[in-house]
């Protein structure tokens, strides 16, 4: 852990070992290193069948006919299902807008859309049978960008969609909105208007404009989409699944199956990463349908090829930015237009638009702002949630603009940012006053103050150059000739939690009792542990609040209330908050028992503030009143309660004004790169990060989040992009051979300086950690490459041809 800042508020510490603030180790660590941890793809059941999905080979077409006869006649095949076999009239699903067909009906809208499903006794039999299904397609013209989507004669991606602006926003589970849009192929639109941009423009001494292109990124979690559906005797189904939000899945699955929610019993199995890609359903409904049809357990496991088609991606974007500044370096105005490609189905696009718009100005004070963000319906792959969504794309553009402005003013890029940095009390372009620490200038100062890696670090005394430290690496393309160093900075702002009036709550059931002569707490939530370490933190919170050593974390399932999604950097805040809240209620009940049993023995039971620490009831002065074992005796105390953060409100559909976000999270990066200017190869040498985390409940896990998020940002900068053919809207690189993610050789050292400035509104003062580092990492690397090469580089990822001019 790096240097700790000066806290504005001392958060509650713990005198119970293993409580919050300690780097306790993962409770699932041993199972994960021995190979015994059961991921969703490891599920097995006697008599189990394997499911396979047949997907569309084209992006946009009418389905003329489907012939399943030959597939059904294949030995070993138990079922083949198409749209016509769906059991109820509910045949679509979706996170916010139910526009996604369970199986294609009459039309396919993107490459890889599910058309039919097969169950067989061996996965290869299922694959071969699926290939025998004959589907006749009549291809339609593809819509791939804003021009083709809004052309006068554009085919409507979703025919029959109406565009009446709806005043009802997606608030507390109400009617989903299709938004405030000028064309049916525009999925959602959010303007943010504050002040007067033309007045701001008149004050400006310099104006810079830029057009930026952001490529489509894949979450590339390693555990493929998978799960096991087991039909139950009561006509229901038990589903073992990897997801980010069990109850959101349940709400979408049950109506399609025609089952009440209590007959679809979901249990979280091991989740091999998520990063937003498991917010939407993948194979859940398909496995349940096949299980209910055949009466046998059905397992579905995507391979990597299919995984590229099986989940939504990060929205690619085109961003148009105009900023002005005065001679002394004060920003005057911002005019921006952010066009996100939502692909064929809505997924989380409305929320992505909301983030891109509301955070489009970045962590800067700008009085006159006019931003428009929108998402398109196209025939490209559907895009939705990925770490930092909306904010990631915007940060790439506004940070490039900051460097351009600083250069034009002849100022230091860090100093220029610091002059304009927002702080606590700043009004954002949405009108929201930021009412907790916003140490933007300080994070930049800290990241700049870190020592730089040595020049020519590939040289070691008396030896030949270590090519592993050079651009091109073991390809041995340079020994230092043509290699130029560059340094770049960036900072970003991300919202934490679900925004815009969403009822963002979580539920925790906490039980306390004596087991084997020791007080034990049991924590049961539906939180999806996807690797982030939420279960580690839940155990720490229970120890801190209940003074126990032993905490049992029950498996996440739908037998307890919703925990909300493991996304938006929200789980430690919201489900952590719920665990804390339920623990506090348990503590009160335990103290009531104590007062009842022992109150007459010591006046402090009635007069002092009492705590549970180290297995005992103690006064705030440290006097021990009783052992928890004696207080509890044979009694068990159990509480299940919901907990919610401060409410937010929707952004006004015309002006974007509103208290839309509950908390903000900030990180800054400094990138050091070496560029082989002859071949266009880039080596990122170091990627330093400073981030405010409010309070690090588990410092080791916090570092893991920051370093992991930083590396995903590095991926966007120099390697990762799903390439979609603009003529056919087909995905050209659906494999880890062709879609590259950073290896350990591509990833530099990532020194981290963690600042802990408490947010008084949040549990323990904590601030959501997971996403902010993904924002500023990418623009910092781009800035460093620009610094090394002098090139403008308005597109990410940067490829060798962009650096050598050989595109």
């Amino acid at each position: 852990m790096g240097t700790t800042g000066l806290p504005t508020n001392i958060t509650q510490g713990s005198r119970t070992k293993g409580g919050i603030g300690e780097s306790t180790l993962r409770p699932d660590g041993t199972l994960k290193v021995t190979g015994e941890f059961a991921y969703s793809s490891d599920m097995w059941h006697e008599d189990m069948l394997w499911g396979q999905i047949l997907r569309s080979p084209v992006a946009h077409a009418e389905i003329v006919s489907i012939d399943t006869a030959e597939a059904l006649a294949t030995p070993g095949v138990y079922a083949v299902m198409t749209y016509d076999d769906l059991p109820t009239e509910v045949r679509n699903y979706g996170l916010e807008i139910q526009d996604t067909p369970v199986l294609a009906h009459g039309k396919v809208r993107h490459h890889g859309e599910p058309v039919a499903i097969v169950a067989a006794d061996h996965p290869e039999t299922a694959r071969r049978a699926a290939a025998k299904i004959k589907v006749e397609y009549k291809e339609l013209p593809v819509i791939t960008d804003e021009a083709s989507a809004t052309a006068p004669d554009a085919v409507l991606i979703h025919e029959g969609r109406t565009d009446l602006p709806q005043s009802q926003l997606r608030s507390t589970g109400g009617t989903p909105t299709i938004g405030h849009v000028p064309h049916p192929n525009i999925l959602h639109r959010q303007p943010i208007i504050r002040g007067d941009v033309s007045a701001g423009r008149e004050r400006a001494d310099v104006i810079v404009e830029g057009e930026y292109v952001f490529g489509m990124q894949d979450q590339a979690f390693l555990g493929p989409e998978s799960g096991l559906a087991v039909p139950a005797e009561d006509g229901g189904v038990d589903l073992y699944i990897a997801t980010q939000w069990l109850h959101s899945d349940l709400r979408q699955i049950a109506p399609v199956l025609g089952l009440p929610e209590d007959k679809v019993r979901m249990t979280l199995s091991g989740v091999g990463g998520a990063f937003g890609g498991r917010e939407d359903l993948s194979m859940q409904i398909h496995a349940c349908l096949l299980a209910l049809r055949t009466g046998k357990p059905v397992k579905i496991v995507y391979n990597r090829f299919e995984s590229f088609f099986g989940h939504v991606h990060r929205h690619p974007a085109k961003l148009y930015y105009e900023h002005g500044a005065t001679k002394d370096g004060k920003l005057t105005h911002l005019k921006a237009r952010i066009v996100l490609d939502g692909g064929a189905y809505a997924s989380a696009s409305p929320a992505v638009v909301g983030n891109a718009a509301s955070l489009g100005a970045g962590p800067y004070v700008i009085d006159d702002v006019d931003i428009e963000a929108l998402a398109l319906y196209t025939n490209n792959p559907p895009c939705g949630a990925m770490r930092g969504f909306g904010a990631v794309q915007a940060c790439f553009a506004y940070e490039a603009q900051m460097d351009k402005l600083a250069a034009k003013l002849g100022m230091d890029p860090v100093e220029f940012r610091q002059i304009n940095a927002m702080e606590q009390g700043t009004a954002l372009p949405t009108g929201q006053i930021v009412d907790s620490p916003a140490p933007v200038a300080e994070l930049l100062r800290r990241v700049k103050a870190m020592p730089l890696p040595p020049e020519q670090q590939w040289l070691t005394a008396g030896e030949a150059a270590d090519v592993r430290q050079l651009p091109g690496g073991l390809s041995n393309t340079t020994h230092g000739e043509g290699v130029v160093r560059g340094i770049g900075y960036a900072v970003g702002i991300k919202n934490v939690g679900f925004s815009e009036g969403f009822d963002d709550y979580s539920t925790a059931r906490v039980r306390m009792e004596v087991v084997g002569g020791e007080p034990v707490a049991t924590v049961h939530t539906a939180m999806a542990e996807v690797g982030q370490g939420g279960i580690t933190v839940h155990a720490q919170i229970a120890r801190t609040e209940l003074g126990v050593t032993h905490v049992t974390i029950n498996p996440a399932d739908t037998q307890v209330g919703s925990a909300g999604s493991t996304s938006a950097s929200r789980q430690t805040y919201v489900t952590g908050g719920a665990v804390k809240h339920s623990c506090e209620l348990v503590r009160e009940k335990v103290l009531e028992i104590g007062r009842r049993k022992f109150g007459s023995y010591h006046p402090a039971w009635a007069t002092a503030e009492l705590l549970l620490e180290g297995g005992k009831v103690v006064t705030d002065g440290g006097e021990v009143l009783a052992d928890l074992v004696d207080v509890l005796g044979d009694e068990a105390v159990e509480v299940e309660e919901e907990w919610r953060h401060r409410p937010t409100e929707p952004f006004d559909l015309r002006t974007g004004q509103g208290f839309g976000h509950v908390q903000y999270s900030f990180a800054a990066h400094r990138a050091v790169v070496e560029v082989d200017t002859e071949l266009g190869m880039v080596k990122v040498v170091e990627l330093a990060c400073a981030q405010d985390v409010g309070k690090a409940l588990n410092p080791l896990s916090v570092l893991g989040q920051i370093q992991g998020g930083t590396t995903q940002g590095l991926g966007i900068a120099v390697m990762e992009e799903i390439v979609v053919d603009p003529k056919t809207a087909k995905v050209r690189n659906p494999s880890f051979t062709d879609y590259l993610i950073p290896t350990i050789l591509d990833t530099p050292t990532i020194p981290v300086d963690v600042l802990e400035l408490a947010d008084d509104h949040a549990p323990y003062g904590l601030r959501g950690v997971g996403e902010a580092p993904t924002l500023s990492s990418t623009p910092a690397v781009l800035a460093a490459i620009r610094n090394a090469t002098g090139l403008e580089l308005n597109r990410t990822p940067v490829r060798p041809e962009h650096l050598t001019g050989t595109e």
Binding site: L25, T30, G35, W44, F221, N303, G531, T552, T710
Partner: protein
């Protein structure tokens, strides 16, 4: 077809194996050893890494029939393998490593290989899907190369993708295991 081979020191027999099945499939679906992971099934991610006659391989790229009569070590056998290796060598104390359980799910009392313990201690495990392959690869590297430089570690593990950690804690874990090994702890 029937395939006879040794897995983690025990003779195994897999029946009704289809000729197209990989070693990974046979381990996971026929022998009940799902520790080797199926992240890409195309030899790019390393999550299915096992030792085949001592050599690290992507088990997804090995046809099941190729392992007839040969020896395979998977992550499930790593602790025993490390213990056996350490016997009679200066590393004999390695067998003293065991999990320091904190919670009910830690699998208290499980005996671990030093590299496994180092991954837990260093925070190198997040979602854990890459972990089995990385452990097998890192353990093999430390066997060959007990005092690796950072560049050596990166080179040896460059065939193993991790999406969660940014690799920093994995580097820490391997350095930790190497240090403990050299101290003979």
């Amino acid at each position: 077809m029937r395939v006879n081979f040794t897995v983690n020191g025990r003779p195994q027999e897999a029946d009704d194996v289809w000729e197209g099945e990989s070693l990974l499939y046979v381990l996971r679906e026929r022998l009940g050893l799902p520790g080797s992971k199926n992240a890409c099934e195309q030899g790019e991610c390393g999550s299915c890494t096992v030792r085949l006659d001592g050599v690290p391989v992507c088990s997804c790229l090995v046809a099941a029939g190729q392992v007839e009569g040969r020896e395979v070590v998977t992550v499930e056998g790593l602790a025993d393998y490390a213990k056996e290796r350490s016997c009679g060598t200066s590393l004999q104390d390695a067998q003293h490593w065991s999990a320091q359980g904190q919670d009910s799910q830690t699998g208290e009392g499980t005996e671990l290989a030093p590299i496994q313990q180092a991954f837990i201690d260093a925070g190198a495990v997040q979602c854990g899907f890459c972990t089995p392959g990385l452990l097998v690869a890192a353990d093999e590297m430390l066997e060959r190369h007990p005092d690796p430089s950072d560049a050596d570690i990166r080179e040896a593990l460059s065939g193993n993708l991790c999406r969660c950690t940014g690799y920093e804690k994995i580097m820490d874990a391997v350095r930790l295991a190497a240090a403990r090994q050299s101290e003979g702890v």
